[in-house]
Each structure stands twice: as C-alpha cells, then as structure tokens.
C-alpha cells in the first residue's frame, strides 16, 4: 500500500471500510524495503500520543463512503503544479538561490544609491533595473556569472522569499538551560502563518509579471539555446568539469570531492544539468504563474486589465519563434527529446522538459474545454448538429459502485476452487474480473499474494461480523433514478446502409449493386419506420466529412482546391510532421522508463539524483533503504518517495501531452489523427498503457508519494522563517492538512493520468478491429474492470467504453459473470442503434485486419503527399506507389504528366547535363571507334539522300 498505509490507517480510520480492495504490496523488492520503512514510521507515530482519535476516524468513516471529490481539468492548481516542478533533492538548491541573491544585493551596498535588500521594497524602476541587469549578466560569456544571474532570476520568480524573513533581531531568544546554568540563545521557531506559502506563491506571480515586462522570457530562451549546445562530457576523469563545477559554488565542490573516485561508473546526475534545470524551472515558473488566473491575489481592476493584456501577449510570445532561432520553444524542447533518447545528451532534465512541453502545448492548443468548444464551432460551421459535451455529462453522473457480489462470485473461480474444463478455460481467461492473480502477466503476479489476499478477505469478513461495533451509516443521498439515458443514441450512414441492405436481403433476397439507401420500395411499414428512426438519429461526424472531402480532393486535382484552415494545430502539425515518429518514439520510451518498477530503459531520474547517490545503485535496486536506523523519516525514505513522485509526474505530463496531441489532431483533420495514432501503436503504445493501468489501482490512486512540508512554497517559507533551517519532517507536516470531512483521499495527478491513459486507449482503438483485438490479446478486460472500483464517474465512463468495444469478442460466458458491468455500460455509455455489442459474439470471426490498416496508411500517405510535399519533399509519393484498393483511373492521375514539356532548342541545349563517370572514361574510345575510324563516304551519302531534301522542300 505504498509508503504509509498503516500510518494512514491511524489518521483516516479503518481502511477496509474505505476500500473494497485490500492493501497489497507490489512485488518489487524496492517496494518491500519501502514498506519496511513504513513500519518504522508507524512506530514513530505510536510513540507519540495521537490527538483526537476518538472523533476523527468516525467522522472519516461517515464521510468516506462517497465518490472521490475529483475535478477533471486541464491541470491542477497553479501552486500544486509549481510544487511538482521540483524534486525534493533540489531543496538544497533553493538555499543556493537565496545565497546568490544576497551576494548579488551586497554588490549594491557600496554604490552611491544602495538598494534595499528585499526585492519587494524596491521601487518599480529599481526592480526593472535589477532584472535588466540580471538579463545583461545572463548574456555574459562567463558561465559562472550566467549561472548566478539565472539563479537570481529563479529566486525572484520563486517569489523572492527573503522578503518574508523575520527581522534578524527577533530570531533569537534566550532560554534558561538547567545543565549549563545560564541563559542560552535559542533559535525561536517562528509562528508560521498558515497563509504564508500562499503569499509566497502570490508574490511569485506578481514578480513573474515584472520579469516578463523586462524581457526575461526571451533572455531565458537565449540562455537555453546557449546551454543546450554544451555537450555532455562522458569522460569521467575530466578535471576541467569538476573544477568548473567547483568554481560555481562551494556546495558542488564538495560533490565533486566526494564523487571523484566514483565518477567512472556513474551516469549523469543533477550536477550535470544544473544550468538547464534553472533555466527550465524559470521558464516553467513564468508560464504557470503568468497564466494562473486564479492565484487569488487581491489586485485592483486596472492592474487586472493590465495583467490580462500581459497574459495574452505572453501567450503569443511563447508561440513565436525564439529570437535568432527559427523555432518556437515547443519545437526546441521536442528536439531535445531525441538526443536524450539516443543517449548523446543523457543529462537533459527530462521531467522539466516534459512538464514544459505539456504546458506549452496546453497554452498553445488549449485544454479540454477548448477542444469541446472548437468542435462545436466546427460542427456548426459544417452544418451538423451539436451533441452533448462528453466531459460535462460524465461529470454530472454519480459514480457507480461495483457490487461486492461480483467479487464473491469470482472467488469461486480461483485456482483450486474450481476445476476448469478444457473448453471453458478460454472463457475463464476473460471472466475473472478481479483476476489480478491468475490472469495477469506472470511477471507481476505471484501465487502467494493470491492466497494472502484470500486470507485478508476472510479477515475482513471477521471484522465485519464481530470485532467492530457497527456504526450508523450516514443516510445515502437518494439519487433520483434517471428515466432517460444520459446520451442520445447515434447511428451512422454506414449503419443505415447496412441495415437496409440486410433488409433487402431478408425480404427480397436481392442486393443492389450500387447500394441505394434512398429507396425503400416494397419494404413493410415496420421496416420503413425503423429506417426512419435510424435516419432521425443519424450522426455525421466531422471525420466522415473530412474523409469524403479528402477523397474528392485526391480525385479531382484540377477542379477542387483545398482550403486548409490555418489553425494553431495545423501549424504545429506541420512543424512536428518531419520528426513525428521520432518525437512519439522518445515520448513513449520515456513513458516506458517511468513504469514504477522499471529499472531498464532510459534514466529518467537525472533531475533527482545527486552525485552522492549512486545512480547506478538506485537503478539496480540495491539501494539500502534500511540503513537509516536513526530516523526513518530521513534520506532513504525521502528518496524512495521522491523517485516515485518523480515518475508519477513524468507519467502525468506525458499522458497529457499525448492525449492533447491526439485530440487536437483529431479535431483538425482525421488523417493527422490517424497518423499520430499509428505512430503510437507502432511503438507498442497499447500494451504500455495497459501496463500502467494494470497496477494495484487503489494503491495507485491513493499513493502518498508527496511530502507536503518539502513542497515548493512551503519549504521555502519555512526556510526563511526559521533561520534558514529546512523543515523537519514530523507526522504532522508530512501531509497536506485536510479537513476531516474532505472525503476519501486520492492523489490528483494519478487519477488525472489514469483518465488520460484510458481516454488515449479509447482513441487509439476505437473503430479499428485489429487494435481492439490487441486489447483482447493483452487481456485488458480484467485490468479495466478492476479500475472501475475507482469512484470517479469520468474515469468509469471511459473504462466502460473501452470494455464495450471489446465486448463482442469477450464471449457470452464473460458477460454472464459480469452482468453488473454490462448493465453499467447499458446505462452509461452512448448507444449505437444497430450495434449489438451486448449479444453478438465474434470470438471466432476472422477478418483481414491487415487490409484495414494498410488502407488507412495509404490514405495518410496521400494526404501527406498532397498537403505537405511542398514543405517536405520526402513526403511526396509516386501515385502508382500507393494504389488504393478499388481505384479507378481518376485516382491515379499523376500531376507530372501535365507539366509542359520543354521543346525549345535553346533551353534544351542550354541545360547543364551532368555526364556520367562511365561516359567520361570511355568517350574518347567511343569517338575513336565510332567516329574517327569509321570511314564515311560523305559524297555518296549526299548523293543517296538527295531525294529526301527535295522531298522535304517541296
């Protein structure tokens, strides 16, 4: 159960009532070690009296039985997004920033007009001066100066925390010490204002506007370009770099000393990307803070208008190519992925990269709401009716609760309890909904955990029957039963056509050659009524329109001119296109490397590992997390949390990046969407997504990989308020304070990425039988079904959709045992009128899926060739290279046949013809043999050909 299950039990009461799922330890030994630490944490916990145990848990339990209070948005709140930027290893660097600032401000002390120490106390023009001065310094050729000024900029963007420090004289108070028999100075631990961190953040927002005004963004980009080109030095015994590092600051000198001997075997660490991290953090600060409209600062109306303007300007600015480069920031960042992936620049701080890419994409293309409104707009323009907003409807539904009975029933199917008969066996593979034990891929399952679980289950039953006093449940809010389904039903033209065809076949045993869907001649009235209803519910998607249009454009090259709407998505697609597969491949590879128990692949922990920690050791999983006997709250524990948190954040950003791209491309043009989907599928995206979903869900959704006190504004605030001491972890500050009525605990980012991944899965698979089959091959049904336990209606909707798509392949047996799921699909997912997902069984049907895939591929190639060959000649295809099945002459028109032929003697003779090597070598010989040696009797030739000349002249 992650890091602190037992501890959490104390605080939140009995978990078993909270979750139907049992705590379960993951199989990796790292996790076991972590859980070993957890016990120690519990001991600490027990050593101290618990306060308010009498009241707390009961309240908890009353409130716990409800849906997760989860709001699915584009991102979390600004302050939390900021906190996720930093890993806990970077905390020390906050102090470096503060020192840099102090050092910098000291330089003004002996000038004629000394500046006040605190950034906030400067006048506006002094602020401008300081920031411009720092920008100038960032252009210096001395990397040390650049580093320090970048730190200063980061310090300002972090909210110039020293402004919040106490005046110095207040910090020390005297206390009588009995042993020493005298008063000793004691650092007074200051009252921490609970709103302090928020104030820091709000100050940071304010400062970022000042920074933007002074052109910090462009300076940072220029600096980023400077630093990107710095090569990663593989040679370990380079004194140059270490001395460079030590000249930067004393802290790093000690890193270098410590690690000097071990350097040989180490991969890149935090020390290698110090500058990059600072720059990227600063840019990230600016993006999040300037665009955060809900920072809750009390500002005047005029200020507000000004900020709005600045915000819009900033948004435009980010999308522009950066100064002196041809590419916007997004492309610069994406181009950093490949060197990272192939290992030429393994030191790039990957987490910050993906976070930045995500944010830039989000602000360029827009989030979920924007997609929805753009879609509606587009549909309106195309004269199509507007359907429900999926997210809104899904959000308004209460989550459904998977019935316990299903669980019980499935206990019977466990190995040993029921002997499976041969034919049944295959069905069984799908019908075990909680089948994490017997049906999971073998590497993640062990039989012992299965037994354990059964035991737990029995224990639970015991608990319920006797030991616990029954508590009065809160009245379950009566949700009025809906009389109607939440969605309007849909049919497509193809469905209608098929329906009529099968009707004709049934009644007349006759098919029209060219399918005719208009005439209903001779059909009985009931059939005509059915067709009318189908027609009434016909839904034409934008994609269908686009496909039809594309076909026309390919066919009538001369008469049809393509109007490409210049949207932002189009612009980005054009820029991404030449390297799309590279980008997707790198992104997916990073995603693979972020699987919690994964130790192979890329090292994604670079922005977290300090040189003291041996990267190789952590990756090889032999880190000794047990050695910290003194305090389990210390390093090893922190590191384990940090690593998990780091990976979760990467996954969160990546899932969002991929989904944003897919959704926006879908809206823009269907073939752009198909192209990116193919790229994802080709790099094994589907099994990867399933692998992520196939974890202990509840543990994942409720992971506690977060140390509240160490998060960004809090720890900085604490640092300056308490005489430059970092917060000491106690059980009180380790978690964000939550009100006892706050409902069940969950980790926002994990729920968020789970939803994203399921949505992505749906997008990849929908309407493509071969990919649905893939879902079957990877046994996704039990995985998905387990996820249904998470009580978030949006998540459930997308899961049900995914199950519905494959239900026809799951077979009757599965449906029989999963009636609850089937009825949930019925009541929650949109119906397609002629789709008999609930009853048909296609297990054995074979279909030529290859053909389907190739067809799409050919269409994409044509689309690219037509639209983008003028930008990237490599996309031009020979028309005959990609014959479309069922093509006729018109589809094979080659534009080059219509190019005018050059028959002017002057220009033909004027052509520069390059002669081949063979020709050059042999032409003398040829001349000799064919011309000089050949004896031609010219007179005779003239006489013999005399007649021709006359003939021509006459």
């Amino acid at each position: 159960m992650g890091i602190r299950p037992n501890f959490a039990e104390d605080v939140y009461g009995d978990r078993k009532t909270e979750e139907s799922d049992q705590p379960e330890y993951s199989e990796s030994s790292l996790a076991h070690r972590r859980s070993a630490n957890v016990l120690k944490l519990k001991q600490v916990k027990e050593a101290q009296p618990l306060i308010g145990t009498g009241i707390g848990p009961i309240n908890e339990n009353v409130e716990i039985d409800k849906d997760l209070d989860f709001e699915y948005g584009d991102s979390d709140t600004g302050i939390k997004e900021m906190a996720e930027l930093y890993s806990y290893s970077e905390m020390e660097e906050f102090a470096l920033n503060i020192n840099c600032w102090k050092e910098y401000m000291e330089t003004f002390e002996d000038s004629i007009n000394p500046l006040p120490r605190n950034f906030e106390d400067l006048t506006e023009s002094q602020k401008d001066f300081v920031i411009q001065d720092l920008c100038t310094r960032m252009e210096s050729a001395d990397s040390g100066i650049r580093l320090k000024s970048a730190r200063n900029i980061l310090f300002i963007l972090q909210g110039s925390v020293t402004d919040f420090a106490n005046p110095e004289n207040e910090q020390i108070e005297y206390q009588y010490d009995k042993n020493l028999m005298m008063n000793v100075p004691v650092q007074k631990s200051k009252e921490l204002d609970p709103d302090g961190p928020l104030q820091v953040y709000q100050r940071a927002v304010k400062n970022s506007f000042v920074c933007y005004r002074n052109g910090v963004y462009q300076s940072l980009c220029t600096l980023l370009m400077t630093e990107i080109k710095e090569p990663y030095e593989f040679l370990p015994s380079n004194d140059g770099r270490i001395s460079k590092a030590s000249s930067r600051d004393s802290k790093h000198a000690s890193y270098a000393d410590l690690s000097d001997s071990e350097r040989n075997k180490q991969g890149p660490t935090m020390a290698d990307n110090e500058m990059l991290r600072i720059i990227m953090s600063s840019i990230y600060h600016m993006i999040v803070q300037i665009l955060d409209e809900k920072s809750g600062r009390g500002i005047s109306e005029a200020q507000n208008i000004k900020e709005k303007e600045a915000r819009l300007l900033f948004k435009d600015d980010i999308q522009e190519p950066i100064e002196n480069g041809n590419e916007p920031l997004l492309i610069v960042l994406l181009n950093m992925l490949h060197p990272f992936y192939i290992g030429t620049s393994p030191h790039y701080p990957i987490k910050k990269m993906v976070l930045l890419i995500w944010k830039v994409l989000l602000l360029t293309l827009g989030g979920w709401q924007d997609i929805e409104s753009k879609k509606q707009e587009k549909r309106k323009k195309a004269g199509l009716e507007i359907m429900e907003n999926t997210l809104k409807v899904a959000e308004s539904m209460p989550a459904f609760i998977l019935k316990e009975q299903d669980e019980v029933k499935n206990l019977a199917h466990r190995p040993g309890t029921l002997a499976r008969a041969g034919m049944m066996a295959r069905q069984m593979a799908y019908n075990d909904d909680s089948g994490r034990d017997d049906d999971d891929p073998p590497e993640s399952a062990s039989s012992s955990s299965g037994n354990e679980e059964v035991d737990n289950r029995q224990n639970e039953n015991n608990d319920k029957s006797g030991e616990q006093t029954p508590r009065v449940g809160s009245p379950v809010p009566v949700i009025p039963q809906r009389k109607i389904l939440p969605w309007r039903s849909k049919t497509t033209s193809a469905d209608i056509e098929k329906f009529i065809e099968s009707g004709r076949h049934k009644y007349f045993n006759y098919n029209f050659d060219n399918s005719d869907t208009t005439t209903l001649f001779g059909f009985p009235p009931s059939f005509i009524g059915a067709v009318n209803i189908l027609r009434k519910n016909r839904y034409e998607s934008l994609s269908e329109k686009q496909i039809a249009e594309d076909e026309e454009l390919n066919r009538y090259l001369f008469s049809r001119k393509e109007a490409i709407e210049e949207t932002k998505t189009e612009e980005i697609y054009r820029k991404l296109l030449p390297n799309m597969s590279q980008y997707i491949c790198s992104l997916v590879k990073v995603l693979v490397s972020s699987v919690p128990s994964n130790k192979e692949g890329l090292n994604v922990l670079i922005d977290l590992l300090t040189p003291e920690m041996e990267a190789s050791d952590i990756l090889s999983n032999s880190i000794s997390l047990d050695h910290s006997t003194s305090s389990p709250l210390e390093d090893g524990f922190r590191l384990a949390i940090d690593i998990n948190r780091h990976k979760e954040i990467i996954v969160k950003s990546l899932s969002s990046i991929l989904l944003l791209l897919v959704k926006h491309f879908k809206l823009n043009h269907i073939y752009q969407f198909e192209f990116i989907c193919q790229q994802i599928v080709y790099v094994n995206g589907i099994p990867l997504i399933l692998k992520f979903l196939d974890q202990n869900t509840t543990k994942y959704i409720q992971s506690r990989h977060e140390i509240y006190a160490y998060n960004y504004p809090q720890c900085l605030y604490h640092y300056v308020r308490n005489g430059e001491e970092w917060p000491i972890l106690t059980q009180d500050n380790i978690e964000e304070p939550r009100s006892p009525y706050a409902g069940p605990y969950f980790m926002w980012r994990n729920v968020f990425y789970t939803i994203n991944l399921v949505r992505l899965l749906n997008k990849l698979v929908k309407g493509k039988n071969d990919r649905v089959k893939m879902l079957m091959a990877f046994k996704s049904a039990p995985i998905l079904k387990r996820l249904l336990k998470v009580r978030v209606s949006i998540l459930q909707l997308y899961i049900l959709k995914a199950i519905k798509m494959q239900s026809r392949f799951l077979g009757r047996q599965w449906r029989k045992t999963n009636m609850a799921t089937i009825s949930a699909i019925y009541s929650r997912v949109r119906h397609r009128m002629t789709d008999d997902w609930a009853f048909s069984s296609d297990i054995k049907r074979k279909c030529d899926y290859q053909k389907e895939d190739n067809l799409i591929k050919a269409s994409i190639e044509r689309f690219h060739s037509r639209r983008y060959a003028k930008y990237y000649p490599q996309f031009a295809i020979e028309v005959n290279d990609a014959p479309m099945p069922g093509d006729d002459y018109l589809n094979r028109v080659d534009m080059r046949d219509f190019e005018p032929v050059d028959n002017c003697a002057h220009s033909v003779l004027g052509l520069d013809i390059t002669l081949g090597k063979k020709f050059k070598q042999n032409y003398e010989k040829w001349m000799e043999q064919e011309v000089f040696r050949a004896k031609i009797n010219w007179d005779k030739l003239l006489i013999e050909t005399r007649g021709f000349e006359d003939l021509l002249l006459s």
Partner: protein
Amino acid sequence: MTATAERRVIRRNGPGTKREDWNNWPPLAFEEMDTALNIQQYIQQLIKANPSDVDAILTPPVDQDEGVWKYEHLRQFCIELNGLALLLQRECVPDTCQQMTATEQWIFLCAAHKNPNECPAIDYTRHTLDGAASLLNSNKYFPSRISIKELSISKLGSIARRVYRIFSHAFYHHKKLFDDFENETHLCKRFTTYVTKYNLMQQDHLIVPILPSQQQQLSAAANQANLPNAAIVSPQKS
C-alpha cells in the same frame, strides 16, 4: 502646393549624384510629408539639419504614436551605427579585440546565433547590427511601420541593450576613433538620451559617460571612492 516655391523637388539620391548634392534637398515641414515613411524622412531631415541638437531630434511631432517613434529612431541608430562599424573595421581586428568587452569585467556572448557563442568584438558588432536589422525589418514582428504591435515594442529594449555594447566597446578600446565619430555625429549622446527618455535601458548600464549628468556622477564617484569608474559599472565581485 503654393507654399513650396520650387516645384517637384525629387528627394532621392539618383545614380551619379555628386557628393555635394548627396541628400541635399531643401527641408520640408512634417505636415507636408505625405509618404508612408514620413517619420523616417522627418528624423533624417532633423539629423541632417543639426546632428548635435539631440533634444530637437528626439522630440516627436504632435500626436505621434510613441511606438512608431521609438521604432524609427532605433532603426536610424542601427543605420548610422554601420558608420561606426565601418570605422572600427580598420583597427578592431580579432587579433587585438578577441572578445566583446567594454570594461574588463564583462565579456558578452553573441546572441545573434541560434546557439549564442563568443565572437571577436568586430564580429559581435557585425552580427548584432545584422541581427538588429533583420529583426527590425522582420515581417513577423514589424509588419507595418505605421502601427506597431505591443509585443514587438518589447523587443526594442533588448536590441538597444545589445547595440549599446558597440558604443561601449569603441569608447573603452578605440577611444580616438570613438571621439572622432562622436564629434561628427553625436550618435552616442543621442542614443543615451533616447534610451533614457524611453526607459529602454537603466541608467547604471549606460557606462559611456557622454551626458553631462553622467560625467558629473563619474567625477563625484571618483572623488568619493578614489576609484575611477567604480560607481558607474556595478562592480562584479569574483
């Protein structure tokens, strides 16, 4: 039309123009300038009339859009700075001035490259002027010379900052050349007044003491600290 006595003065330097006729046409009142590039024409006319009258040159006509005014001036500075660059070319060679420095504490990276790097001073000068020219003429940021986008105006500051380094380099390393150029054109003085007036650069960064106020400050600081230049250049402690 009646006001202009001479009919149809062609304000162009045609091919084969003699030296004494170069740019030699009678001044025209601003209201009379009916071309799209009237601001530039007006500024150049003022400069030609008296380059030392910095204030007059920098005083915009009434109702003049400030963004355009700033833009056109910066353009003009870049044009005229080419003259300084040309002079510098003679004696500022990569062998003597390997880096772009003014006072010894500062060496600058040349930001005109995709990945900024260190260039010799003369290359820095050329690159920066080229970069400034292409930015000021870029269709993207400055599509119109009649109205200028807010976003683009913010670019002027960084151009000014980089261009100024050419002055400071010339002043600290090629003093004689700088003085000759300055006596003739008063460009640095005008530039300093310009950036101060429109707050494009902060006082402390203007390290060439060219305005009377700056010179006073310098001498005051020298008296105070007995160290020349100490206050003007924010000292950088290593």
